[in-house]
């Protein structure tokens, strides 16, 4: 049976503790600093443009199923729907995962209720298109053209279809904002979207939008995790200088099956 090595047994609980401690700090009411991100500040402006134009918003959550990346996108759907629902603007969510439909429905329904626009909620705006990558892309492109969307949100896991969808979004004149942790797709969004949220910033989005203690505490905790990893990297580099690459004690400790 595959089991964790000593590094995983020691470091994982320690790193998890850093996150838990910061969540506790945030829950106790401690004001935790998180710097502003221009892409996230632009969300309101992008929805506003669609409202001004009197066109719907399209929110694509990419190819992800039930995973952390997609769930972050689903939280952002709630925020965007609240902003749009105030002005009775539709938010169309095409998806590749039928399993996510009840979750998105619930999020959109709650967002409508929160702003007193229950009657504007329409479950038909959450659409399962296809679980095949390019069939989904073809469907999203068709929706953009037929609905003449005013704003596009691309939040989640994307692959080669990212450029196809964002390029067509440009063609219909939609204001576009994209966020994905996948570094291979960011260049295409940078080239075609008005705003792009880069890599790790993606995970900061929900914390910045909601200011929920669990999310902000978790984000700050993750910064401490990154800092710990940075310290480990510097230590590893120094040990390589002193001991050489092969004899590096820290590398041996961290490698699978090490120590």
């Amino acid at each position: 049976m595959e089991t964790a090595n000593a590094a995983a047994r020691i470091l994982l609980p320690l790193l998890a503790l850093l996150v838990i401690l910061n969540i506790q700090r945030a829950k106790r009411g401690r004001e935790l600093f998180i710097r502003r991100l221009p892409g996230i500040d632009a969300i309101e402006e992008v929805v506003g443009r669609a409202v001004e134009l009197g066109r719907p918003v399209l929110f694509s959550i990419g190819l992800g199923g039930v995973d952390i990346t997609t769930l972050q996108a689903v939280s952002v759907i709630g925020h965007v729907t609240q902003l749009a629902a105030r002005f009775r603007t539709r938010v169309i969510v095409p998806t590749v995962s039928a399993m996510l439909i009840p979750v998105i429905e619930e999020v959109q329904r709650e967002a409508h209720v929160a702003v007193g626009a229950e009657e504007a909620f329409n479950a038909q705006d959450i659409r399962f298109l296809s679980d095949a990558q390019f069939a989904y892309a073809a469907g999203v492109v068709g929706l953009m053209h037929r609905e003449q969307v005013g704003a596009n949100f691309f939040f989640g896991t994307f692959a080669a279809e990212s450029l196809v969808m964002a390029e067509n979004g440009q063609a219909v004149g939609a204001v576009q904002i994209a966020a994905t942790p996948d570094s291979n797709q960011i260049p295409f969004f940078l080239a075609t979207c008005d705003y792009t949220i880069l890599g790790e910033e993606y995970y900061a989005t929900t914390a910045l939008l909601s200011r929920e203690p669990v999310l902000t505490g978790s984000l700050v905790g993750q910064d401490y995790v990154k800092l710990t990893l940075l310290v480990l990297i510097v230590l590893g580099l120094l040990l390589t200088l002193v001991q050489g690459e092969e004899a590096n004690l820290l590398a041996q400790f961290l490698k699978p099956g090490g120590a």
């Binding site: 995973d67 296809s130 260049p187 940078l190 800092l227 990297i233």
Partner: protein, 212 residues
């Protein structure tokens, strides 16, 4: 049906589908709409076959036929997903969804040590020349380390970028990211062009096949 007729039909359908899907570049039209829906429909049908052949057949039906009777309960659990259509019982679907979320979270936790730790050890590169490490390699390693540290600095969200050194490092990280994104963009666009050329070549070959 004759083999050549089948070959001709497949080629013509492929050519028509290619032209129809590409036609959206000019304007959304009825031909695009037809092939878009056809594409989605075929993908759905294909998905059903793949689900049976790769998942349900070998993992559920086969064991059931071999006498593992308890698999009969699996579809009953799966059917809970359909409770979303009955508002009174919709909460039942949340049970399955929460199990899936839990599994996903567990995998991420496990993946941290299997993905991040090897990345950390890969960064322990030599920064001084030796018999096995040339000056060129040292320079390359230095670029790698500077990029790694500055990009990590850019992605710290809870530390103020007030100090000039921190702000400068983060700014350098952003610039280096943009250079990397430019390189990715260039290489991928080259790949996409080769796909387009292949498709155009296919279209150009169609008349030849028709009048062969």
């Amino acid at each position: 049906m004759e083999l050549r007729t089948v070959e001709l039909l497949v080629t013509l359908t492929g050519a028509l589908a290619t032209i129809a899907i590409l036609s959206v570049v000019f304007k959304e039209n009825a031909l695009y709409r037809f092939f878009e829906h056809l594409f989605i429909g075929i993908a759905a049908g294909y998905g059903v076959v793949v689900t049976w052949n790769d998942a349900l057949g070998p993992n559920w039906y086969q064991p059931l036929r071999e006498g593992q009777w308890y698999w009969v309960f699996a579809p009953l659990l799966a059917l809970l997903f359909y409770s979303v259509f009955f508002p009174k019982y919709a909460w039942l679907s949340r049970f399955l969804i929460s199990v899936l979320f839990g599994l996903g979270a567990g995998q991420v936790f496990r993946g941290f040590s299997t993905q991040v730790f090897p990345q950390v050890t890969s960064s322990f590169v030599p920064l001084w020349p030796s018999a096995a490490v040339s000056w060129g390699q040292v320079f390359s390693n230095l670029v790698f380390v500077v990029t790694l540290v500055s990009v990590m600095a850019y992605f710290f969200f809870s530390f103020r970028h007030g100090h000039k050194a921190v702000a400068g490092t983060a700014q350098l990280g952003r610039w280096l990211l943009m250079i990397a994104f430019g390189a990715i963009f260039g290489s991928t666009v080259m790949g996409r062009f080769s796909l387009l050329i292949d498709r155009i070549q296919f279209l150009l070959d169609v008349p030849g096949l028709l009048f062969k």
